[in-house]
Symmetry: C2
């Protein structure tokens, strides 16, 4: 098996178990990538992530280019050394955060000019700049620079945006050097329109990427709508390449997306909700701030094998959350990320046994 | 050796190495107790504390009685089970925090009436209440209820305050049950006045305690002044009982106090300064916020064996501090507590070798 290769070992319907070989080690898919925005998965040590089975992390190019700057990260050894994580790291292109976080954005054919939300400093992000920044960060998987089409949007605008992203995908590929043994993924756009999704995929397939992401989803549309798009959009990509659904999602979103052929996911939900006092349990979440947990001697989840559930009561966690203690963020983030990673393990096992479809239909 | 016994194994001048046997295990002194105010040492897991050699923690009665309440802690198994720490825990009496944090305080012979700084709820803290609360928390070492005499203060006021604390010490002893195998420590007051310190110690010795604390220091007086008081105040206590200097201090304060016969310390400095971006190094502290560390590939301290120094550069830590990342608090707190615990280990080794006095004289 070559470096940067992807092989599918088990298939059940559209769902599959695969192995992605990166320059930083192998990733078994379907996989959830914990989000380490500013080169840290908030409130977690990298050793804890490794211990609970995290295989690959995501970092945000936008945040890192404005602070501390990609050249600083490079000077300090690149992302892996910088943040003490030896496994693969996927970086996004920065495009999505520019549109959601930056100030005074101006978009044209060349790229996006914006001011940092941290200190107002002016930046220009183009496909060439995004790829260079990600290579300077020494990312393992680099994302093409795209425009994330908003929702809802008229078809004409979705088409114009998708075609711009296609031209940017070509420019991204042209400027990609792969000098660190890194991979390059393209990003499909096209809003909620099947023909545009197909057209976008054709462009990307012609250019040729190591993997294909589905962008422009998880932007506020209902789950049903997202599943409708996924029903066709992943079919347009070659079977022997990994498919990544960006920014997704809740556990039921992930299960439904795996059912539709997706291999990779990232989302801030487990980490962010942990910092907000929410903990994932089998049928949803519980909020430890609620009065009912103050005297509760039970762990978050009796059946959970994580460090938090093995050692702490809901009553103690409730106290920590109410007291705004940092330990609340540590323990709840750990539990939630463990929950997500365990879900992915379970999904892989079910696909291997041919029992995933039945499981998924009970959930979504 | 009996439970709750203290034995001195090595003496150098007034400095000594001892072993305090508690119902929750042995503590080698001189010892530093990390502060876990609300039943958590902020930003640290108990397993990390254990791994770096913490032997005993301090929790604050004032914080715990107002949130979540001592009965809640008791219902959830007592402090050890509640916070997942199996070693000894010392609780203060609540008196100090009532005077520094609570609202609308009214002090009389009986005790202190106050309103919680969290929700305004009214409480009455008396010697009897303080002891009962600490026993309900299932503390290992319980402190007598005292009034911390402020600084500077006229001798008449210091005397009046010390005599009140003496009467409260007697009431504390009378109401102490020791039902969890716990110990009771008395607290010396008397301001900066030698005769009052002696008188206070006489009262306490007559009552009889398992250990003796020196209170009313580290209240804003210069180090020189504190050392002057320590020069005589610990001599008034029996040699076969542990001596605890409350709320102290900087590394040089601790070294100077061990030189004057102190066995136990607690202070928020290592944890609080860690959360503020400060890291302890051999000759003081460095602030990771400073621009000079942004490109620094070195760890905080080349010679330090802690997890933070083994894995992270000053440049990365600087980035985390500037980005207000929780991981900054985790790593800097860990380093600082490790620094304090290592200092205590070194002090014990130096006393055993008879080299501590020479070491201390270089520092303070």
């Amino acid at each position: 098996m070559d470096l940067n290769d992807f092989s599918v070992s088990h298939v059940e319907g559209k769902s599959r178990v695969g192995l992605l070989k990166t320059s930083r080690g192998c990733v078994e898919t379907p996989v959830f990538m914990p989000v380490g925005t500013a080169a840290t998965v908030k409130a977690m040590l990298p050793e804890t992530l490794e211990a609970i089975g995290a295989q690959i992390l995501l970092c945000n190019t936008y945040h890192l280019m404005i602070r501390p700057g990609e050249k600083v990260v490079n000077h300090l050894g690149g992302l892996n050394t910088f943040m003490n994580w030896s496994g693969p790291i996927l970086t996004d292109s920065g495009g999505f955060q520019v549109m959601s976080l930056a100030k005074l954005r101006q978009l044209d054919e060349n790229g996006v000019t914006f001011r940092s939300h941290v200190d107002g400093k002016k930046f220009l992000l183009t496909p060439e700049a995004s790829i260079m920044i990600q290579e300077t960060l020494k990312s393992t998987i680099i994302m093409a620079f795209d425009e994330c089409t908003p929702f809802p949007v008229e078809k004409k605008i979705a088409e114009k945006s998708m075609k711009l992203s296609s031209r940017w995908a070509e420019r991204s590929k042209s400027s990609f050097k792969g000098s660190n043994g890194s991979m390059l993924f393209g990003i499909q756009q096209g809003g909620m329109f099947q023909d545009l999704r197909e057209e976008s995929a054709c462009y990307l397939n012609d250019i040729g990427f190591d993997g294909y992401a589905i962008g422009g989803l998880a932007v506020g549309e209902p789950q049903q709508k997202m599943f409708q798009v996924l029903d066709y959009s992943s079919d347009f990509f070659p079977k022997h390449k990994p498919r990544y659904l960006m920014g997704v999602g809740k556990p039921s979103d992930i299960v439904g997306a795996v059912l539709r052929g997706i291999d990779m996911f990232d989302c801030v939900i487990p980490t962010r909700s942990g910092r907000n006092g929410q903990a994932f349990v089998e049928n949803g979440t519980i909020n430890l701030k609620n009065a009912q947990y103050q005297l509760d001697k039970n762990p978050i989840d009796e059946a959970c094998g994580c460090y938090c559930c093995s050692n702490y009561s809901r009553g103690y966690l409730s106290h920590l959350v109410r007291s705004n203690e940092i330990l609340a963020s540590l323990l709840l983030t750990l539990h939630n990320v463990y929950f997500y990673i365990s879900l992915m393990k379970k999904i892989r096992e079910l696909i291997k046994r041919g029992e995933f479809t039945a499981f998924a239909k009970k959930i979504c």
